[in-house]
């Protein structure tokens, strides 16, 4: 089957597209014009280091990456991509490469991920995506941190109560990974603004806490022809599914008439504990990594249930 191009967001240096209608092979990376001086400096700066398997590999460290970035006037991500293309691994990603390969890391460094909601699921997702090496995050949230967030929202602290979540997230990402930029929108996602806010994202992740907003995000992602990683939690349980444009989605659970769907569920009674949030957010990030790199198989057209109370993991194939 010929590749289906869902993406039209092209940078000057790269052309990204998904090969995924019946299967997902991740984002493809085509030719990239690399500055010869950057390539030379990266090659000269590479150092030998013992890889996790004991073999020797070439790496470039954070300080050198920043130095080349500054001296050549190119973003850190361009230095990192240039290194990876020469088989030189930025040290910060050394423990990623065994899982996703050099090309997988390059794809992450060329991808934009939208995160709607920067609270429970969302803030953990943002933290992990920055560490994974996603190059740009679009974060949408109109709320600020409050005391009841402290139990599970990983970016909330006693010090930053009252601060806007998107601003805290942007600051945190900058501390974690200088190659990752954050575009923040301190507003509520609506049916009217959703496509505009999420434009440019290759994948959108759900960090929400109510069903009506999730339906808005799902609709926007279908319109933008990009995958949406849905998840929700309550008590010891969480659920997740990845929805590509032609896949079944939330209507498979809640019906086609959105006005009959509940706004909230049993979490209002049995709570949102921190470990459940972290666990399900981590699974969402794995879905993003699989979608972008093409490694592994996203959970599509089915819903995953994880229940750690008695420990059970189930999947149900969904119909329309």
């Amino acid at each position: 089957m010929s590749p289906t191009r869902f993406l039209t967001d092209l940078s000057l240096h790269s052309l990204l597209y998904y090969n995924c209608r019946d299967s997902c092979e991740g984002i493809s990376v085509e030719s990239m014009t690399v500055d010869k001086d950057v390539r030379r400096l990266v090659a000269q700066s590479a150092e030998s280091e013992a890889a996790p398997d004991g073999k020797t590999c070439l790496v470039i460290n954070l300080k050198t990456t920043a130095s080349i970035s500054r001296s050549q006037g190119v973003p850190p991500k361009e230095v990192e991509i240039t290194a990876l293309k020469q088989g030189i691994i930025p040290s910060r990603y050394l423990r990623n490469i065994g899982t996703i390969g050099l090309e997988g890391q390059i794809k992450l460094l060329q991808s934009t991920v939208g995160v709607v909601g920067a609270g429970g699921l969302g803030s953990t997702v943002i933290e992990l995506l920055a560490r994974q090496g996603i190059v740009r995050l679009i974060v949408v949230d109109n709320d600020h941190f409050a005391e009841q967030n402290l139990n599970r929202q990983i970016m909330s602290t006693e010090e930053n109560l009252g601060e806007y979540k998107v601003l805290v997230a942007a600051k945190r990402v900058k501390e974690i990974n200088s190659a990752t930029s954050v575009t923040t929108f301190r507003e509520r996602l609506t049916r009217e603004n959703a496509q505009g806010l999420l434009s440019g994202a290759h994948v959108v992740v759900d960090g929400l806490d109510n069903l009506p907003s999730r339906l808005v995000v799902e609709h926007a992602c279908r319109q933008l022809a990009i995958p949406y990683v849905y998840a929700s939690i309550a008590g010891f349980s969480g659920q997740l599914m990845t929805i590509f444009p032609g896949d079944v989605g939330l209507s498979s659970l809640y019906g086609s008439a959105s006005n009959t769907a509940p706004e909230q569920g049993v979490e209002t009674r049995i709570g949102n504990p921190p470990a459940t949030v972290a666990m399900i957010a981590a699974l969402q990030v794995q879905e993003v990594v699989k979608i972008i790199t093409g490694v592994g198989t996203p959970i599509r057209n089915q819903i995953l249930f994880v229940d750690t109370r008695e420990f059970a993991i189930d999947r149900i194939e969904l119909g329309r």
């Binding site: 909601g117 609270g119 429970g120 699921l121 969302g122 759900d206 960090g207 929400l208 806490d209 109510n210 069903l211 999730r214 998840a231 929700s232 939690i233 309550a234 008590g235 010891f236 349980s237 969480g238 659920q239 209507s251 498979s252 659970l253 809640y254 019906g255 086609s256 008439a257 009959t260 509940p262 706004e263 909230q264 569920g265 049993v266 979490e267 209002t268 009674r269 049995i270 709570g271 949102n272 949030v277 089915q302 249930f305 229940d307 109370r309 008695e310 059970a312 189930d314 149900i316 194939e317 969904l318 119909g319 329309r320």
Partner: protein, 94 residues
């Protein structure tokens, strides 16, 4: 009468102490009535113990799929041999 399987997920499985139960029914409503008779009180008592008070029947506070399709999207309520009803609570938090 069709022999079907009802599968419980998430919190319902924990509270009912069962993964699944067989039922014989020709229509979904028959199956839901039997489900309520067999498990309704047990589930509400467990929830009450956890401090959660719910009014109504299991079907009133559950999401239910027939062979992976929500009952809300079904055209027919007839059951056939081997059908599977999936039942679980709405989980919407984040």
């Amino acid at each position: 009468m069709a022999l079907i399987t009802v599968r419980f997920y998430s919190l319902w499985r924990s509270y009912l102490g069962a993964d699944s139960t067989p039922l014989q029914a020709d229509h979904i409503q028959d199956a839901l009535t039997q489900l309520e008779e067999k498990f309704g009180n047990q589930l509400r008592e467990k929830l009450e113990t956890a401090g959660v008070h719910l009014e109504g029947k299991i079907q009133d506070y559950s999401l239910i799929l027939l062979n992976g399709t929500t009952l809300r999207n079904l055209n027919s309520t007839a059951l056939k041999e081997g059908d599977v009803l999936h039942i679980f609570p709405p989980v919407i938090g984040g």
